[in-house]
Amino acid sequence: MSLLTTFMSRRNSLGSPVLPFVTILMTLTVLAAIGNLWIPADSALHVSTYTITLLGKYLSFAMLALAVDIVWGYCGILSLGHGAFFALGGYAMGMYLMRQIGSRGVYGDPILPDFMVFLDWDVLPWYWLGMDQFWFAMLMVLLVPGLLAFVFGWLAFHSRVTGVYLSIITQALTYALMLAFFRNEMGFGGNNGLTDFKDLLGFSLQADTTRVALLLCTAGLLAAIFMFSHWVLKSRFGKVIEAIRDGEPRVRFLGYRTDRYKVALFVYSAMIAGIAGALYVPQVGIINPGEFAPLNSIEIVVWVAVGGRGTLYGAVIGALLVNYAKTRFTALMPDGWLFMLGALFVLVTLFLPKGLAGVYGQLITSWKRGRNRDEPPQRNQEATS
């Protein structure tokens, strides 16, 4: 009993990461926003619009990493296909932005996007209908990835596909989608994807204020999703999820319908990925089938692995760090990045199985243990001397 209370107290002493995380995240983004909008361009504290966009991109990746961490870190489902949900959300947003271009396109067609005019299509395909409404597009951002995750997850978890099999078929899923989206006949712009966006809700995407607003929006949503996910995973539902990760058959024998829990979590995670994609597209200005590439999905996994899975904040930190390194490295020596990324995969799995968050946790624990242990020996030393 005493052991349990000490365990509980230690846990409490580490504290919930929610408050510091949200505080740091929001402070930094607000500072960046101020640095861009109100500090003059010649000042050393000025934050360029390029940096703002980059930050926004990183934060949407962080959200994506969060989505992967939720299924991988907490439920042991290693999805190599989360890029697909991300890209689907992105495409939904991209379709809305395409419709907003209206007659300002190269061919000036008020309804059809440029690529459809180019392909000699005369009517809008049915799945493009309604995409000119923001609310409808946002609904699709959630529903399309969610529905795909539901169908896929229901099929997979219901027939108890687990482990590497599941990973491989998620990869096959995103691969199949990539092939499909590369086709012009699909009506999503084929190889080139959707681009040349003009404005979002009437605000020009080129304007600094829009960019800052998008960054703030991304950070706000990331914070909100972080808090909500934390709450969900600490709830009773979250406990069952963790139990499934650690011993699914046992949980099943205890009477839980584990497949339903997993499907629910998978759908939730896919929706987060969809939101991340929807935030990513207006900031980057393009969405193309390359986002479905299996390599992208597997890169997300490495962000989470680097940051440390099963902690939520680890995923965010991992995504930010790896992407920052990627930006830096590809600028310095473009060929070196894949070496780096490959080495990162190998080294992290071999030497940092719990990621940076794990290292941090170990440091804290050993520091605490050290402090606890330090005191008695001192007394002993005094006694002997």
Binding site: L78, A172, L173, Y175, A180, P294, V302, F339, L341, T349
Partner: protein
């Protein structure tokens, strides 16, 4: 017409008694050649006809050289020369003696010119000459070249030749030509219809064109009907051979998948780990082939025999290296293994990109693998695909023998069935793991050699096959070689049969979707392992 008949008669006479007029023809042949150098364009044809009538053995090559526009003569002594352009420089040869000579000035030689009339005459004369060639292939080709231009005289001649002919291919070509002739211009409707019936067994495009023509333009309705029926029969056959062709391409794709997946089946089956760098082993094998060819440029035909063991060793060593340095530390953590090996695959790809450049490299095909086996005019199987199909089966059988008959195979099976028990029985599981990995990777390397003969070799070569090979392994059932074989060929054939209906991309998507659904139903594959070993 009559003249041609006369000429043929005369020529046949010469043919049957070649010794009688030997000296005579030679001298007159030489005279005729001399005349050829002196004649102007209009007078050339009669001389050529006379030359043809001599039946001299050189006539064929003379006509061919003339047709190619390479026949010249030296102005000084009117000796015929052949001037052939070899890689930009002219090579001079005395035509009759065949001795090479020093190049002459442009003014010292004169070309024997030909116009279109002469060219037509020459082509058909060459056809006629080849009819009597000693090579059956040439004879058959000559008959086929006459198909649409056959006239009564040549038809009679062919009928004559048919009696002496013993080669079956040539006979069938002659029959085709004769049937086409009588379908076109026989006197009686009955003869025409009989000929059309004969044609309905043939797949040559010329025969089909003729039948189309008859169907539309023949005067007699019975002939038109016969032509329609024959066309329907031919179409049925063409469709059938189309399916056979697709089946062959499916088998070919299946053999490639088999080579790619079989190594994976072993490593995944034995160690339960997914090696995402497996595709890169294929790539390494393909690059090994490329390097071997670079090292022995003069021996392209033999380089493959060196490349196969070399690729096995290179890829196998890489496999052992990966196992020793990374995978062994991740025992019992399959998902982490997947990630780490993925990292390795990225490193290997980038390594190849840095060493060999990101551009695709072309690996030359040896002579004995180029060309195709023509089964009939609509179905021909390329030798490289045929070879790879057979090669894949040989590799499969070899692997099966290793697994079933050797000590290593016994250990591998023991470890895959129950690792702890195998260890307790004194099997060094570490060693077995490393060797299994080496074997699986080495076989992928061999697969790479085969792949290099079908596609260009590039850093992304492995990526294209990795997902497909996983699908094959999963579809066939993990740890089951026979299942892998069946799965590879099933997927290959399914892919190729879907392609014409749905297009390439949609076909691969459909196959993927099918497998995803299949795994839902039978998570352990087509042939699951039974009993406790399966858990």
């Amino acid at each position: 017409m009559k003249q041609a008949l006369l000429m043929f008669g005369c020529w046949l006479a010469l043919w049957s008694t070649p010794t009688v007029a030997e000296t005579d023809t030679t001298s007159s042949y030489d005279d005729l050649l001399m005349a050829l150098t002196e004649a102007d364009l209009n007078a050339t044809q009669p001389i050529l006809e006379k030359i043809e009538a001599t039946g001299h053995p050189e006539v064929l090559s003379l006509f061919q050289t003339l047709l190619d526009g390479n026949l010249h003569f030296r102005k000084a002594d009117q000796v015929l020369l052949s001037i052939v352009d070899v890689n930009g420089t002219d090579q001079y040869t005395e035509f009759q003696s065949g001795t090479a000579i020093e190049p002459l000035g442009r003014r010292d030689v004169s070309k024997i010119r030909v116009n279109n009339n002469l060219r037509n005459f020459l082509s058909s004369a060459i056809g006629r000459l080849q009819l009597r060639s000693s090579e059956p292939d040439l004879r058959s080709a000559a008959v086929l070249s006459l198909l649409t231009t056959l006239d009564a005289a040549t038809a009679d001649d062919l009928a004559e030749l048919r009696r002496e002919e013993s080669n079956r291919t040539v006979l069938s070509s002659i029959d085709l030509a004769l049937a086409m002739y009588s379908a076109r211009s026989a006197n009686t409707v009955a003869a025409q219809i009989t000929a059309i019936d004969t044609l309905s067994d043939r797949l040559q495009p010329e025969a089909r064109n003729l039948l189309f023509d008859l169907e539309r333009n023949a005067d007699n309705p019975a002939v038109r009907e016969a032509a329609t029926a024959a066309l329907k029969k031919i179409d049925g056959k063409v469709t059938f051979y189309g399916y056979v062709d697709q089946l062959f391409f499916g088998l070919s794709l299946g053999s490639v998948l088999l080579l790619a997946a079989i190594g994976l089946a072993i490593t995944f089956g034995v160690m339960g780990v997914i090696n995402m760098a497996h595709g890169e082993m294929l790539m390494l094998g393909a690059y090994t082939t490329y390097v071997v060819q670079l090292l022995m440029p003069g021996f392209i035909n033999y380089s493959l025999w060196v490349a196969i063991p070399a690729a096995f060793i290179v890829a196998g060593l890489f496999g052992i290296l990966i196992e020793r340095c990374v995978i062994r530390f991740l025992h019992g953590r399959p998902l982490e293994t997947l990630l780490a090996t993925f990292g390795i695959s990225l490193i290997l790809q980038q390594l190849v990109r840095t060493v060999f450049s990101p551009l695709n490299r072309r690996v030359a095909a040896p002579d004995w693998m180029s060309g195709s086996l023509e089964i009939n005019p609509v179905l021909s199987l390329t030798y490289n695909r045929l070879t790879i199909l057979i090669f894949a089966l040989i590799v499969f059988v070899a692997l099966l023998v290793i697994m079933k008959k050797t000590a290593l195979g016994l250990y591998v099976r023991a470890v895959s069935q129950n690792r702890d028990m195998a260890k307790a029985m004194g099997i060094k599981t570490d060693r077995v793991d490393a060797l299994t990995f080496g074997l699986g990777s080495g076989i992928a390397g061999i697969g790479g050699v085969a792949l290099s003969q079908l596609t260009n070799v590039g850093p992304n070569l492995g990526q294209a096959y990795i997902i497909d090979s996983f699908m094959v392994v999963v579809f066939g059932g993990v740890g089951n070689l026979l299942g892998t074989l069946v799965a590879a060929f099933t997927l290959g054939i399914a892919n190729k049969f879907l392609e014409p209906v749905t297009g390439t991309v949609l076909a691969s998507i459909l196959v993927l979707v099918f497998i995803i659904l299949f795994i839902q139903k039978r998570p352990k594959g087509l042939f699951p392992q039974r009993g406790r070993a399966a858990e």
